[in-house]
């Protein structure tokens, strides 16, 4: 502990002791022949290491330029390199605009220096991967399936469209991973708006933080975070897509918006998912009368329909003197979900279902340079939505859909429980740039939850129901030091407070207070080679669903303790090219974690529900690696692989004195070796200029793992090795305005399993049609 503290102090001292020389700065706007702003243009001061990239509006700025005359180089993909000279004065900013012409000869090479926002994100000190969502717009992916292709990430779904999901990131899973949309925690969005039903088209990019999470996300994420960055398009745009396919699946996405010259903006996102999810599964199907099992029977799921409809509307102003962005919005949505099975596929349901809705007003405010260098962001929302659990049939279904009345207790537990989670959220972040290299960030996240419900079938059960309330506040302070494209470092501390109220008697658990801190460093040996290291003492607090359950297949555990862990990450990324036509990207990360009170999901003793529980200690080490290759501008391929070894370090079990037989055993029911590979080919100007065809293939592999503790027993239950092959083809016309996509998932019709050996969809085909239009006002 002492070492860690000293290390942090040391970093602070090093960062703060940088000397200052006589310098000025340099800025301007870069445009193309037509006067349109050019983002991602490399601006380099000749004979120096000073370098930057232009922003989306074409602007750039380079600080700490030594006083004197300089030659500036402007370069970008497919553009002619431009050279200009300028002299820089002490303490002043010199303006140097540039117009860059297209270089027809260079057009066929893939991008070299110009980086998309997604690639820029990858260059932070944090261990972060950004998925450029725009590349996936013509697919039928939701956010969760897009994430499944990132190295180190494993999305575990309990079934088809709308099914429960659990994302694991470098061996951390469940609520250790937090979800954000534009930096706003999604904790309280309810079942109608989750990463498994948000279409990928809503996002501009998806940032995946593995391990240490930047302070401005200000959360108690322990294993990492997913931040969905929604598209902020200028001018007027319309993006509409519709997909249909196997299992009677229909998905529609409509994004439209406009921003007037005066700064008034209106944005509308609407999406819909519908699926019967009636895919084939292989089960031991019991005869409802004799109890005889038909071993390995192929049956269709018959009670798994899911649909949701969501509308997000935002109205406000942008680029005003008092606000860069001020949006008032509302998210309206509803969902319906049939529950086919309990936590294991032996218990089949035919009537049990849930409904939910979301009515969530929200406020978003952002202002940069409120006073010079101070950026302020404020978000607030409150979910007025209701959820309902409906289980009214007294009896049992079999896998063939036959029903037999039994008893008087419903299928799982008879109820018509109607409840409201009353959750609210307020986040505030202030960033202060002390100078170009030093900045401070302060953030606070307040999270409220108070579940209240009523069961009309069992009024006596719920009349004097115990309170289900939890409030959490996280205050964080961070400091960063960065030399652009050379070095950056961050150190931060967090104070977390949570209270949980679960009894009427007033005797509650004392409030939980936790301190966390960490640091993240990155160093660029050169433009193409970056090393990242980070450490955090991280806390993962119990979430509302961990404490109170989800009333379907997750049971609550009011005694769940917060998890605290030491997380270390070390990684590098390296890009290189051979003869300018073979381009390679390699990145690899190693992790080590030691978690106290490790939170994991197990089955309850009846094997019917999941329960979160603690292990005294769990140690994880592992790594992930990714290699990408592209040939000219038409072939792209990549392989990612992840290995993680989670070991039980609890030496003595509660109530016993001897060394546990499970000490040092590998944690069960967690995939530990998996990877994927993809190849895609783009044929440009096919058929007609401006049309293109993209054909892709994706392979997913998950190594066999055990359902229960690996060291015990000889004849064991396992989740077998899995190979899933997906192929897709997209034909785009008129430079992407019209698109038709075809997708085949799980083409070999392999048996794919997930959580506790739940089966995932069999072979499926989808057709996707998309129209995109963007009229840029500039």
């Amino acid at each position: 502990m002492q070492i860690k503290k000293n290390l942090l102090i040391g970093i602070f001292i090093i960062l703060c002791s940088t000397a200052y020389a006589q310098t000025g700065s340099l800025g301007g706007t870069i445009v193309d022949e037509a006067g349109k702003p050019l983002p991602g243009i490399a601006v380099k001061i000749k004979n120096s290491k000073l370098f930057t990239l232009s922003e989306n509006n074409g602007n750039y700025i380079i600080g700490k330029v030594p006083v004197g005359k300089h030659t500036i180089l402007f370069s970008g993909i497919g553009l002619k390199t431009l050279e200009k000279t300028i002299s820089v004065q002490n303490g002043a900013q010199s303006t140097l605009d540039a117009k860059i012409l297209t270089d027809a000869q260079q057009m066929e090479t893939v991008q070299v220096y110009g980086r998309t926002k997604a690639e820029e994100t990858n260059r932070q000190a944090f261990n972060v991967t950004a998925i450029d969502a725009k590349k996936l717009y013509n697919s039928t992916l939701d956010i969760a399936s897009a994430l499944d292709r990132v190295s180190g990430v494993r999305v575990r779904e309990s079934g088809g469209v709308g099914s429960n999901f659990n994302l694991s990131l470098n061996g951390f899973s469940g609520n250790r991973i937090r979800y954000f949309i534009d930096g706003i925690p999604m904790d309280n969005f309810g079942s109608s708006f989750q990463i498994n039903n948000i279409p990928v088209n809503l996002a501009d990019r998806i940032e995946v933080y593995k391990g240490v999470v930047p302070m401005w996300l200000g959360s108690d994420a322990l294993g990492g975070a997913i931040n969905i960055v929604t598209a902020e398009r200028a001018g007027s745009y319309l993006d509409a897509s519709y997909a249909f396919g196997s299992f009677n699946t229909h998905r529609t996405v409509l994004n439209l918006g406009t921003t007037t010259k005066s700064g008034f903006t209106i944005q509308l996102n609407a999406f819909q998912n519908y699926s019967d999810n009636n895919y084939k599964v292989k089960v031991d199907a019991a005869d409802i009368n004799t109890g005889a099992y038909a071993v390995d029977a192929m049956v269709n799921r018959f009670h798994d329909t899911y649909h949701n409809e969501t509308l997000i509307a935002n109205v406000g102003v942008v680029n005003k003197s008092h606000a860069d962005k001020l949006l008032l919005g509302v998210t309206l949505g509803q969902n319906y979900k049939e529950i086919q099975t309990a936590a294991r596929m032996v218990a089949v349901y035919g009537g049990f279902h849930t409904r939910g809705n979301i009515i969530m007003p929200s406020l978003k405010y952002r202002k940069a340079n409120l006073i010079k260098g101070l950026d302020l962001t404020l978000n607030a929302n409150y979910n007025l939505g209701r959820e309902k659990r409906i289980d009214t049939l007294n009896g049992r279904f079999d896998w063939y859909g036959n029903f037999k009345p039994i008893g008087t207790n419903g299928e799982s537990s008879r109820s018509l429980y109607n409840y409201q989670n009353n959750n609210g959220l307020v986040t505030a972040t202030a960033n202060y740039a002390i100078s170009e290299r030093h900045s401070l960030a302060l953030s606070n996240v307040l999270n409220l939850f108070n579940r209240k419900g009523y069961d009309e079938l069992r009024p006596l059960n719920t009349a004097d129901e115990a309170p289900k309330r939890t409030n959490k506040n996280i205050l964080g302070l961070g400091y960063s030091y960065a030399i652009r494209d050379k070095f950056s470092a961050t150190a931060f501390g967090k104070y977390i407070y949570q209270n949980i109220v679960t009894t009427n008697t007033g005797i509650n658990q004392p409030p939980i207070e936790k301190i966390g801190y960490g640091t993240a460093l990155t160093y660029f040996f050169n433009r193409n080679f970056q090393v990242k290291a980070s450490y955090e003492l991280a806390n993962r607090m119990p979430e509302a669903n961990d404490i109170f359950g989800d009333l379907v297949n997750q049971e609550g555990n009011p005694n769940l303790k917060p998890e605290q862990s030491d997380n270390f990450n070390l990684g590098f990324s390296y890009d290189f090219a051979i003869n300018k036509i073979h381009r390679f990207g390699i990145n690899a990360n190693g992790i080590y974690r030691y978690a106290n009170d490790f939170i994991y999901t197990r089955l309850n003793s009846n094997q019917s529900k999941y329960v979160p529980d603690n292990r005294d200690g769990v140690r994880t080490y592992g790594g992930d690696a990714e290699i990408r290759y592209s040939y000219k501008n038409w072939l792209n391929a990549g392989i990612t692989t992840t290995y993680q070894y989670l070991q039980n370090m609890q030496k003595v079990e509660a109530g016993y004195t001897g060394v546990s037989p499970l000490y040092l055993d590998q944690m069960p029911n967690i995939p530990y070796l998996f990877g994927n590979a993809d190849v895609s080919v783009t044929l440009k100007d096919l058929g007609k200029k401006g049309n293109s065809l993209n054909i892709g293939y994706n392979l997913l592999y998950v190594h066999e793992f055990y359902l229960y503790w690996p060291s015990l027993g000889q004849q064991k239950y396992n989740i077998p090795q899995q190979w899933a092959h997906d192929v897709n083809a997209v034909y785009s016309m008129a430079n992407g305005r019209y698109n038709i996509g075809l997708e085949a998932k799980n083409i070999t019709d392999a048996f794919l399993y997930d959580n506790f050996s739940l089966q995932k969809p069999s072979r499926a085909f989808y057709l996707n049609i998309r129209y995109f239009f963007n009229k840029n006002r500039n």
């Binding site: 050169n526 590098f572 003793s605």
Partner: protein, 405 residues
Amino acid sequence: MKVHFTKAIAALALATTIVSCAKKSDDPVAENPGNYILTVTPVASTAVADYLLTASNLETGTISTAGNGVEQDGTYRYYVTHNNKFFSMLYGQGNPGAVTTYSIQGGKLTKLSNFQTETVQAFAPVNNDILLTKLPRTINATGSTVATWYQVNTNSLLISGTGTLDALAPGNNGEIAHFSWLQQVGTKVYAPFFSIKNSSFATSYPDEAWIAVYSYPGMQLEKTIKDNRTSFIGRYFTNGLGVVENGDTYAFSSSVARDETKFTSTKPSAITRIKSGATEFDLTYFFNFETALPGYYITNWIYLGANNFVAQVQPIAAKGAYTAGIELAIVNVVDKTIKKVTGLPADVKSITTNNYTPKDGKTAYYGVNLTSGIGYIYKVDAASATAKQGLKVEGGTITAVQHLD
């Protein structure tokens, strides 16, 4: 550049290897083929499965679950042996209960079949069947409140009959008759029960004992045998009856009837009798357990033969509705004698409630689990009232000791 690159890879490689790669290195304990079946639950209370182990001898040797045993899907399981078959039953509230059946071939467990029943609260061998009953815990405001029964044929290994019982009829007091267990007596099924108002198992009738008598296989309620000298017979998931060689049935009461908050019976823990052929309690026989073994009451028993039972006993001060005693006593129901068993270790964590006896009147094999997490089979000798340490069981808590031919 190249140098940097190599350095970084070296650093990464180092980082991933310095974390100790210590994996488990168990000294493997070999398989122990034989006709005894032991069921073992890992000491971790959670995320575990039961393992079925075999042993050739309960009096010596060691067995372990490390790399051995047949994994059972889940740990909330109950085991019963009948018709020379071993039944492993999953108790999953609200879930169907999967039942796996095994025989022993050449000292190894051989899976015969899987079939599905409901989760039940009482089951027992009757004729060639296993009779299972699923009992309600709440009284319906309107309509009937029923228990469901299933007859599983142990030859076909399928459900051969099913039906319902009026759960309020046996008590006839407005409360549910929750069977504590089932026992075949002659051609009838005796179902001793506790009377409950609701799912907290509270009753307004703490000072009565009942046995519902059903025909078999028709499952018609023929009579309820009542007694007001003790509280109810047996306990939740516990057989309170034993039939001796002359056909007399003995019954024990733990005196654990309760209201919402506390034990309410005024009667002592005691043993009573129903003479062979009679359908009333024998009012001439009453064996007060608490005076014969002062300070103790009985929580479970098994019948060894020759009128001898081995009872699990617990100090009255530690009384609980679902606890099982961690001390043993030899009870002779005809002589009305109780002798505490000596020779058990000091640091007992739990004693298995599903144990084996060859029914020779003398011997029983009990699973004894120590706080260290190690278990032993103890051979109990009724004549000397002693227990002797036998087979060592590593890697978990013994939950049942059974034998197949």
